[in-house]
Amino acid sequence: MIIYKKITLILIICLIMTSLTGCIKKMADENLLKTVRERGKIIAGVKFDAKPFGFIDQDQKLKGFDVDLIREIAKRVLGDENAVEFQQVTSSNRIFSLISGNVDMVAATMTITSPRQKVIDFSRPYYVAGQAIMVAKDSSVKTLKDLSGRRVIIVLGSTSEINIKQMVPSVKILGFRTYTDAFEALKSGRGDVLTTDDTIIYGFLSENSKYKILKDRLTLEPYGLGFKKAEKTQSFQDAVDSALEQIMQDGTMAKIQRKWTADFIKK
């Protein structure tokens, strides 16, 4: 009797093990470009809360600069602009998504920096933003100097914290994981100012009239597309790079830029 029980137990364990192995994602053995072609679509990470680069609009559709750019790239790499699966990334998890292979590429307002370049690969810059400061219209903060000792809201994993700490070391940092949380914290008065890229601030201002952007720009933030650093993904990266080159040459980039920044950014 006991032997029968043991045998059934072993069988059950085997069954569980085999069903678990099914869950483990197949690692891409061959090069990524081939995998993408076989799959028939690019899996791209974009932000869902950074207007006007990647956001959900009123009719619940994903839109924005980065979204259009990836569609153009898909048109040139796979021949179909709808051959894209968008996945949400945030400032704090976009690099992890790339490294773990959850997404093929990331277009998420990501600044090209040298610490990041050690971990992932970038395309050429496709847009240049600047880090700016957003305050309530009646705030006493007028310039960068007024910031000392204030509570500054940032999004974790972005370049904002390092930059502001270098310029005004006495600020108190409140770090959140998403822009939604960060804007919410500013609205409810948890912090005095919010700092991030001006483009994202303009997107927020388009819906909230009680806030304004300060004239100072702390830094220049060149955005690049992010790729995983690996031999197997190089072919895909080259294909996207040449597509991006085309997009910039034939005026498509200027069109996308006009479409998304004209309404929001009045410089």
Partner: protein, 224 residues
């Protein structure tokens, strides 16, 4: 395979220690408050008047059946619109205490129910008030039975305190998360974080095992 880099962890140890301090501060205060809340609730639920009992049941069921993160967000994001503005740390302590208090009261209640009802009847017939019977006779017997599940609740408080990182409290998990996303060393930081949390909770587990042996009731506990 993975290129494990211990240098980034060693570099950020002072930073992590600051986080541990914050986590301990929040957990210790919440534990004390939660235990007091648990005591009040369990007394009003087992010995209290009808209305108190009703209030206690409502409290336990509402708090126990909603996620802690939702309660934390209500404290942090919804209360300011009603005109109550609490600092992030007090939000964290308050929601953790309320949450753990509900669970601790249930643990204590199971202990009290395991004490025979004759004890309560004989104490009141000897002239003790309800409160005296509770504090002098029932509770001292109940508490030693529930030491293991009670310490699990304190362990849970430490682990749940990591949720306060979502409201920008610079506790241990906030620092780990920030280190991970700033240095792109996810494996190192999250493993180190898991290890530090285990050290913190391990102390409580050890302490609970010692207490359990000290307060073992002869003849009552089955020897296994």
């Amino acid at each position: 395979m993975y290129n494990f880099d211990t240098a980034v962890i060693i570099e950020s140890i002072p930073n992590l220690i600051d986080g541990v301090k914050m986590t301990l501060f929040i957990s210790v205060i919440s534990s004390i408050c939660a235990f007091i809340i648990g005591l009040i609730i369990v007394f009003s639920r087992t010995m209290g008047l009808k209305y108190l009992k009703f209030f206690a049941v409502c409290y336990v069921e509402i708090i126990r059946n909603t996620p802690l993160l939702v309660q934390l967000y209500i404290m942090y994001k919804a209360l300011p619109s009603l005109g109550i503005m609490l600092s992030p740390i007090s939000c964290g302590i308050l929601s953790l205490s309320l949450y753990a208090g509900a669970f601790i009261s249930e643990v204590l209640r199971s202990g009290i129910h395991s004490v025979a009802n004759e004890q309560f009847e004989s104490s009141t017939s000897l002239g003790l008030s309800k409160f005296q019977a509770f504090t002098l006779i029932i509770f001292p017997q109940a508490i030693r039975i529930v030491i293991p599940p009670l310490s699990s609740q304190f362990i849970n408080i430490i682990k749940n305190s990591s949720l306060v990182s979502f409201i920008a409290v610079t506790d241990l998990f906030y620092r780990i998360y920030k280190g991970a996303v700033d240095d792109f060393r996810f494996v190192e930081f999250f493993l180190a974080g898991a290890f530090i949390y285990m050290m913190l909770t391990g102390v409580i587990a050890l302490f609970s095992n010692i207490l359990e042996n000290v307060f073992r009731l002869r003849g009552r506990t089955a020897k296994i």
